[in-house]
Symmetry: C2
């Protein structure tokens, strides 16, 4: 059971606990209590091994293609967390003997993982165990572990094997060549592994410090090697009340580290410097190293984001902290050559690839809260133009066609081609997203638009942003298909956000977003013509913009945009959806288990029903209303309401991306109860009590959605065509909500109650915003009464 109320006093609403040990549902805590720092992610498998465990250590950006017929993925590094413990010669496991007061906790404030319990061995010997672990936010290469064992009743012999195990794989796919292994001074283990295709070297160093009753024990362990493994065996006798402490410190470095980007890299330099780092760490010890990391968390995360909810349900506050915690550990803020993985660094699911999840569901947090990081993530997409142009050429198009799944920026498309079983044919289903789920190019353009609108970062636009927008517009212009009879352009044979509908024509989301993409390119081209001829000249030379501009103009205007149908204002999701059979989906609309519809139907059959996997048409309203298209009648508030009423009941939310969007829209249309219930469900995707939802890793986009639901939904913060707009609608049981966002390089703190909105501009700058049609300018501090508004 996951518990949220174990933090007391200054740790209130900071602690997520697992109460009791459950060997069959290990994935839950492993994933939601995952540690990391953006450089690496360490899934929280327990020290002692269990049958159903999943041990993962990922370093961002170290992609590799293990076999010629597989796609590139983030490889699972050698493991340092496993410790095989024997008590009086017998394997220690919580599946044997008696356990008492078992509790595992992630402290979101300090990012420390702890596990405490008493255990009585099958032979009746009683011991207490405490395990602690952190991945440093101060030294991005450092993993700290500490084990404390106390014999409570009898003399015991405790021995353990601990080292580095490079027999790990990604569900059987082995990414690494076996490399150099050694034990330095009978103390420090160093293991090198190199990815077999991309040739990334990984150097892992690990060492142990043992104390009994506070006194360091200097005793040579037994040294062992086996294939892809090195480990030490320690053996000690404990008398009753003796306390054994073991610190295990590990450093992880790779040849992909930023410092080697442009330098002459040599493996032995990396071996030496990483060893040196570990030696320095060893001198400091676990406690000091942990203090440094904790300080970073305080300054860089909690003080910076300044987020607070006072709710009658403390779960809401902890969910937001959980969101900020994971958004921090998943994001490679240190390196603009890397993106965010769909399962973060907490599991093998989706192979570490970046999807539109980043731009539409995670990036908004960084754009508003930490623009530097947002810039880094968008720069990753800029580097990805190389792969996007490659994909366009391969598909016979012009411009930049971004891959549905991205890994190395230069690779282009890396979506796997085959998936789960088709229950009708008995074969693997074909995955079409990499071929025809194309809206991502427009989604990335939207993100650039949003970033620029919120930050005003013209430098980014000159260097990177315009090029992305122009070249995706050119992709769309070449992608459109002319219908001579209707004298208009269509987009046929795509998958929209609703992946339960494959090979559809004129998916509303895709067509509108392509239209937005071209219109935005036209606007920025014209803007540049007026304001910055140098940048325009360079881009024109590179991208043949004069010609492109004409095409955008010509084609955007003739792009078919599905209209709300007359009788009920519903915009058809695609050209056949509204004619499909309606089925009773109540059986499948159940967040305990997603995608259960696949147990009864195969994709070909689901394609014939009016059932939607996730927000599709509805997402348009949320996006386009932030742009210069906000006044378009086709996406007016009335139309939004009508479409919400039509599509929400048909949407299974079988993608974790869906709930937050529907929650925000429910807020928009004033259905506060539904908004809160959808928000709560989105918080529960990972953090809730369903024990198998996170087995393959946490849901990065859903976690981004928690923040979005709170800030864009309940606080009602929204970009509207270049302006900051606010429509606060706090849930009834929220007393207040506080957070700091960045608007045009100004940190602005909002404090909301049900009756007042206070705005404080932190650096004495000036911030303008709109609320219910009225414009406010704030230089320092402003408090607005909300009672009579709206």
């Amino acid at each position: 059971m996951i518990s949220y109320s174990d933090g007391k006093e200054d740790l209130e609403n900071w602690i997520v606990s697992e109460l009791g040990f459950h060997p069959d549902t290990l994935g839950k805590s492993e994933a939601i209590m995952c540690l990391g720092n953006g450089y690496m992610g360490l899934r929280s498998a327990t020290e002692e091994p269990y049958m159903k465990e999943t041990r993962n250590l990922f370093v961002n950006g170290t992609f590799n293609k293990a076999q010629v017929n597989e796609v590139t993925e983030l490889p699972n590094l050698a493991d340092v967390t496993k410790i095989d413990i024997r008590i009086d010669g017998e394997r220690f496991s919580l599946e044997f003997g008696e356990k008492k007061d078992y509790i595992r906790q992630i402290n979101l404030k300090t990012a420390e993982l702890t596990r405490i319990f008493e255990w009585t061995s099958p032979k009746g010997k009683k011991l207490s165990f405490e395990f602690k672990r952190f991945v440093s936010l101060h030294n991005l290469h450092l993993i700290g572990m500490k084990m404390t064992v106390k014999s409570l009743s009898d003399p015991v012999q405790i021995s353990f094997d601990s080292g580095i195990n490079a027999q790990m794989s990604n569900s059987g796919a082995q990414h690494f060549l076996e490399g150099d292994r050694r034990i330095v001074d009978k103390k420090i283990i160093q293991l090198v592994q190199t990815t077999n295709e991309s040739k990334v070297d990984v150097v892992i160093n690990t060492t142990h410090k043992i104390m009994i009753n506070g006194e360091e024990i200097v005793k040579d362990p037994e040294m062992n090697m086996a294939r892809r493994k090195v480990w030490l065996t320690y053996d000690f006798s404990l008398q009753p009340n003796d306390i054994l402490e073991m610190e295990k410190l590990t450093t992880v470095y790779t040849s992909r580290d930023k410092e080697y980007k442009n330098s002459d890299y040599q493996i032995h330099t990396l071996q030496e410097s990483s060893l040196k780092d570990l030696q320095d760490c060893l001198e400091k010890g676990y406690d000091l190293l942990f203090q440094s990391s904790k300080k970073e968390w305080k300054n860089k995360v909690w003080n910076a984001y300044n987020f607070e909810i006072k709710s009658e349900d403390s779960f809401d506050q902890i969910a937001l902290r959980f969101s900020l915690y994971h958004l921090t550990i998943m994001t490679p803020a240190h390196d603009e050559r890397m993106g965010i993985a769909a399962k973060a660094l907490s599991g093998e699911g989706y192979k570490g690839h970046s999807f539109w999840d980043t731009e539409l569901f995670i990036l908004p947090f960084f754009i508003f809260s930490n623009p530097e990081v947002a810039k880094s993530l968008l720069t990753y997409r800029y580097h990805g133009l190389e792969g996007a142009r490659k994909k366009a050429v391969e598909n016979g198009y012009l411009g930049a066609m971004f891959p549905w799944e991205a890994a190395w920026p230069t690779d282009g498309e890396v979506t796997p081609k085959l998936g789960d079983i088709d229950i009708i044919t008995g074969e693997q289903t074909k995955i079409w997203s990499g071929f025809i789920e194309q809206h991502i190019s427009a989604d990335i353009t939207f993100a650039v638009y949003q970033y620029y609108s919120v930050t005003g970062d013209i430098e980014f636009m000159d260097d990177y942003g315009y090029e992305i927008i122009f070249d995706t517009a050119s992709f769309w212009a070449s992608r459109l298909e002319w219908n001579d009879e209707k004298q208009e352009f269509h987009i046929n044979n795509v998958i929209g956000p609703d992946e339960y509908k494959e090979h559809v024509n004129d998916n509303a989301f895709t067509n509108y977003m392509a239209y937005f993409n071209m219109k935005l390119a036209i606007r920025y081209y014209e803007k540049l013509k007026k304001e910055n001829s140098v940048v325009l000249k360079n881009l024109t030379e590179q991208l043949n913009l004069d010609e492109s501009y004409k095409l955008w103009q010509l084609k955007a205007e003739k792009t078919f945009l599905p209209m709300p149908r007359e009788k009920d204002l519903v915009i058809p999701q695609d050209d056949t959806y509204l004619q499909l059979k309606e089925i009773d989906i109540s059986k499948y609309k159940n967040q305990e288990k997603v995608r259960t519809i696949y147990r009864d139907f195969n994709p070909a059959q689901i394609n014939t029903f009016q059932v939607t996997k996730q927000a599709d048409t509805l997402l348009l309203f949320y996006l386009l209303q932030q742009t210069f298209l906000q006044d378009d009648n086709r996406i007016s508030e009335t139309v939004k309401q009508a479409n919400f009423n039509y599509y929400e009941p048909k949407t299974l939310h079988d993608s974790s991306l869906s709930l937050a969007t529907h929650s925000i829209l429910a807020n928009d249309i004033g259905d506060m109860d539904l908004a809160y219930s959808l928000f709560k469900k989105s918080c529960e995707v990972d953090l809730g009590q369903m024990m198998n939802t996170s087995d393959d890793g946490i849901h990065a986009a859903a976690i981004g959605g928690i923040w979005k639901g709170a800030v864009f939904g309940f606080a009602g913060i929204r970009l509207r065509d270049g302006l900051l707009s606010i429509r606060p609608k706090l849930p009834k049981h929220w007393h207040h909500m506080k957070f700091t966002i960045h608007w045009r390089a100004q940190p602005v703190t909002f404090f909301l109650t049900s009756s007042t909105l206070s705005v404080k501009v932190e650096n004495k700058g000036k911030v303008a915003f709109e609320m219910y049609g009225k414009t406010y300018e704030c230089n320092d501090f402003i408090e607005i009464k909300l009672d009579s508004m709206e």
Copy 2:
């Protein structure tokens, strides 16, 4: 605990049992109860999984190099043996609940593995389980499994996952590309995997048949796929006394199968035909299929070898049967393109490579008992000439330099270059065998000599044998190093059989065997000149024999052969051994754990002690006394005795190859108690009570040594310079011993008691043999009194 006395009546001395379940020492039964048929080997991991299990399925000859910096090895195929069972939703494991009467048995007579026990779940529900399994000797592609579960006390819900899991690896090294997976008719699972470098396709089909109370249940299971996995989930309710039977039948085929050697192979043909085979098997069912296999065992193995020991210690008889059982299942009798692996097909140890183990320790059994198979194994070495010539060229020599470790015959050397930890440097030790352990070329020549002498198979010699002998002789002639001062040839910088001495000069074993190799080539060259000029002409053209012959003559005579030293007749193992420091090795001379000396010293240090890993100089006597060199004073009985006295106390027997040789020599020199004690130790290497000896697989050479110890040692059967010689010395507590050997294509049955030897020539042929200087000729049957002899 391993028990040998559970077989009753006609199964007396046929059953090896494991009593009680021991989750920490699973490797023992997994390996010694391994199933197979020479085509494939299936390690006997239990159906339900445990932490310390090792699941292995190997198909002979499917070598692959998983990564560019690894050596080629036998890949671990997808697993079909694991069945995840749940009782009332809880994972079934013998680590939980209460177990009663647990017994696991291999029936050596029928080659069926069984496991029976009662189990009470943690919730108190009592069930009985029976598992049966065989790998067919009739259909080499078939694995049969059967599970019978009876609910003894309560209604229970039993569900299980069973299918094919290709996430398997060789200790982390993944050999296979992920291939096609499907479920045909919701019933038969087919999975294809292809080795990533050698491109061997493997097709595995598996299916289940379920009966409750004898009635077949037709109910669609839940179908599942994950990365590299396909499985079905079955779910049934049992009432008290209901009996659930589940048969799981599997076929395994590969593109390396002999029928595809010269034909146009296509994967889909293999997929279809292997599926068809499984469908045929499914119609027959477990029991019928098992009967066919059992019949093959009776005819091809037990009746053919006709081996019997009547001993007061029944262990002796069972050990011999154990030996014949494993010699049968390890040997690819069906395909001359394959050799025998040092750990057979029972574990990952030594990577499936063939060593001299085959020629000196296993082949004698086949030469004397099943010459067709011996021929196949030597033909594998003939095919290996390609790799051997490649190795010679790479090392700057002429002729054929056989690899220390062999896989694909064309590959040449595949010995890994790095091994276990050096406890002084902390680095991996360098493995020198692949570079400088060179005696194997002469060992193979000896085996050809022995095969020809025993069988008289001149056709083999014409086609293959002479070429091996001539080209290895040419290797040795080019390998010798001229010492101008001494006017003789030396062989410097080698490893002899004693691998505790690296980089030695003039290792007696190597020099004498090289000398034998050249002398044998000279003899056969001269013989061919007289008897078969056609063969000689062809070989001369191919191998430039006229020139070579001169070189052999010149060089053999001037090859330095270490003399017994005057004071004690000890032949120096190499040019420094007798000057090295003597140490007390009693601490390490302990067969409970081998190679414990590495815990105190590293190889460089051990190199400086008079300590020998295994039979080295002593082995010479056993070998050369079978040849035309038998009358050489340097290997006389007196010298043998002196050397035995010197070297036996210095030999750790840290190789399992060593014991049988010393046992035979102890017999030769009349130390009957030592002979029996060494024989018994050699039987116990795998079959004994030490629970960790076989973790990496059984010891194929030691198992060949059991037969050798009995037949060459106690029965005293020996080849002597082309003649059959007999010196029976039955252990005191053996009443009689019976076996059939083949001498010059005649099956001859020997029946020995302490007082008489009966010889029966089975096919009314004529066989001559020598005993204590007297020559006998036997046409039909002869009985000789032994009392007054010797």
